[in-house]
């Protein structure tokens, strides 16, 4: 394992020192417990938005803290959900009196820890609504699993619900909009290589020279299927078909297409992939109104990509376009 780190034990704290050094003018970083909070939080009267999850998915979530998006993030250890005390601290830090939305990716650990945190926050008199993301169509048989995983749509929920909160919508409305994004979003991913957590020091799985994992999550877990690698066009179709069928997306639907890199995929390949996704979307009759191409929800240095399609309506589109001013997503500001 070769990494640009000081030691496996200190990697999250060290990275947070970097975040503080780079963005200390607009973010407040706490180390005990780990939180990343908007410098101007809490905003009186505004619904607070927090999210959190294991580290190793950067820029998610710390990179999305700022006006128009999250009010705080709780970074856990690498690929390990954060703990309730982090979430409680973040919830208190961003509560402007209008309640706080917890955006939670559907993994057992994240769900259980956020559940405990919500109980603690409510016990302290803070209203909390939880928006659970579970957009991964690779997990088909959700009765016999922990349910679908929350993956790419999480970024879109954070942006769009964040804009709704910035626009002054109330707690129920912000949560409802977040849930609407999740309900209208579907994702699936492919890995060309594994990743190595600093603590384990070994790749999370071994792939042959011409194999890929289809239907991966974001924690270096193996996917649902191991298959021979195909061209970008073939892989795009391998992922798009289940996505399109699942919602289902219909001809004429207005969509946002999000091609996400898993961390180690060069941008040139993501654009090659996006070209194929756009082609398939057009063939399916979709109206591609917006897009996002880049490394936004990652698995350390994993090579691979995921596709997220979000069916848009006027309101979601308006909130997507609204100004956002965070380290990793910034426009109109």
């Amino acid at each position: 394992m070769k990494k640009l780190i000081n030691s496996p034990d200190s990697v999250v704290a060290d990275a947070l020192r970097g975040v503080e050094a780079a963005h200390g003018d607009r973010l407040r970083v706490t180390f005990d417990p780990f939180t990343v909070v908007r410098a101007d939080a809490p905003i009186s009267g505004k619904v607070g938005l927090i999210s959190g999850g294991g580290s190793g998915h950067e820029p998610m979530h710390g990179g999305y803290v700022g006006p128009g998006m999250l009010d705080a993030a709780c970074p856990g250890e690498v690929f390990t959900s954060p703990t309730p005390d982090q979430m409680l601290a973040a919830t208190k830090a961003v509560n402007g009196g209008a309640g706080v939305v917890h955006i939670v990716k559907n993994y057992t650990g994240d769900v259980l820890n956020f559940e405990m945190a919500a109980d603690l926050a409510k016990a302290e008199g803070i209203e909390v609504e939880t928006v659970l993301t579970n957009d991964d169509v690779a997990v088909e048989d959700s009765l016999y699993t922990a349910g679908r995983r929350g993956v790419g749509v999480t970024v879109l929920v954070e942006k769009i619900a964040g804009a709704a909160a910035a626009a002054g919508r109330n707690l129920q409305e912000v949560a409802e909009i977040g849930r609407r994004v999740n309900a209208n979003g579907r994702s699936m991913g492919v890995a060309l290589s594994a990743c190595t957590t600093p603590a384990s020091g070994r790749p999370s799985f071994e792939l042959g020279e011409d194999e890929v994992e289809i239907g991966i999550g974001i924690h270096g877990e193996p996917g649902r299927f191991r298959e021979p690698i195909g061209s970008a066009a073939q892989l795009a179709s391998r992922l798009m078909t289940p996505i399109l069928e699942d919602l289902p997306f219909r001809s004429g639907d207005r969509v946002l297409a999000f091609v996400n890199g898993m961390g180690g995929t060069p941008l040139i390949e993501l654009y090659v992939f996006y070209a194929e996704v756009a082609k398939l979307a057009a063939e399916h009759g979709l109206k591609l109104e917006r897009n996002l191409v880049g490394n936004y929800i990652t698995s350390l240095e994993m090579q691979g990509a995921s596709i997220t399609l979000l069916k848009l309506d006027d309101e979601l589109l308006r909130y997507w376009d609204a100004p956002v001013d965070t380290p990793a997503l910034r426009w109109g500001a």
Binding site: P33, G54, F79, T83, P84, Y107, L112, G217, E221, R224
Partner: protein
């Protein structure tokens, strides 16, 4: 030998050492069907737990267990943090205020701990989780007539339960995403639960 504050402290110290010793093994088990952090998570939590136990006088068995619970909840994260946190919180709640714990109380506390873990995680038997080690261990305790024998039997039952997770297809937790590919690997959480009972058995064998 009885379950009391000091034996419970010794048990927790032994479990912390066991998590350090088996960190790598649990990481490997979790790499196969999960995300490779279970050993690191449990070790981080238990080192924090023994540090906190050392930092303040613990009134009784229940206090020890609650301190461990809070340490795990605030340092483990992941699925294991809330689940083991709940386990120790329930144990500690039932045993609160007791200086000496007899077999029936101990078994009852473990029954409550098991129920707490299941209430939180919604796992049933055969879902390939720590519950598959807990269920037979608690049953063994309940069936016992002697505390020491009971704990030894529980450890043996937890071991069998953990081994028996290998052929199962996971239906809860991260491993469930693998579907059929989760079969053929022993569950990391069931394995750490076995080590928890093994530490108890070793503590009470002294």
């Amino acid at each position: 030998m009885a379950v009391d504050r000091d034996t419970t402290l010794a048990w927790m110290t032994s479990f912390a050492a066991s998590m350090e010793e088996h960190r790598e093994e649990l990481v490997q088990l979790d790499t196969a069907i999960g995300d490779g952090d279970h050993g690191t998570n449990m070790n981080r939590g238990m080192q924090k737990a023994v540090a906190q136990l050392a930092a303040a006088e613990q009134a009784d068995t229940g206090a020890v267990l609650k301190t461990v619970a809070m340490a795990l909840i605030s340092t483990v994260g992941g699925a294991a943090g809330p689940l083991y946190g709940t386990l120790f919180l329930q144990l500690g709640t039932v045993l609160a205020g007791l200086q000496e714990v007899d077999l029936p109380s101990y078994a009852a506390a473990w029954r409550r701990a098991l129920e707490g873990v299941q209430a939180r995680g919604k796992a049933q038997a055969q879902d390939k989780t720590m519950v598959d080690a807990l269920i037979p261990a608690v049953a063994a305790l309940e069936a016992a007539t002697d505390l020491e024998d009971g704990i030894r039997a529980a450890a043996e039952a937890a071991h069998q339960g953990a081994l028996a997770t290998t052929p199962l297809v996971a239906r809860k937790g991260r491993a469930s995403y693998l579907g059929e590919r989760s079969a053929g690997h022993q569950d990391p959480g069931a394995t750490s639960t076995y080590y928890l009972f093994k530490s108890a058995a070793e503590t009470f064998a002294h």
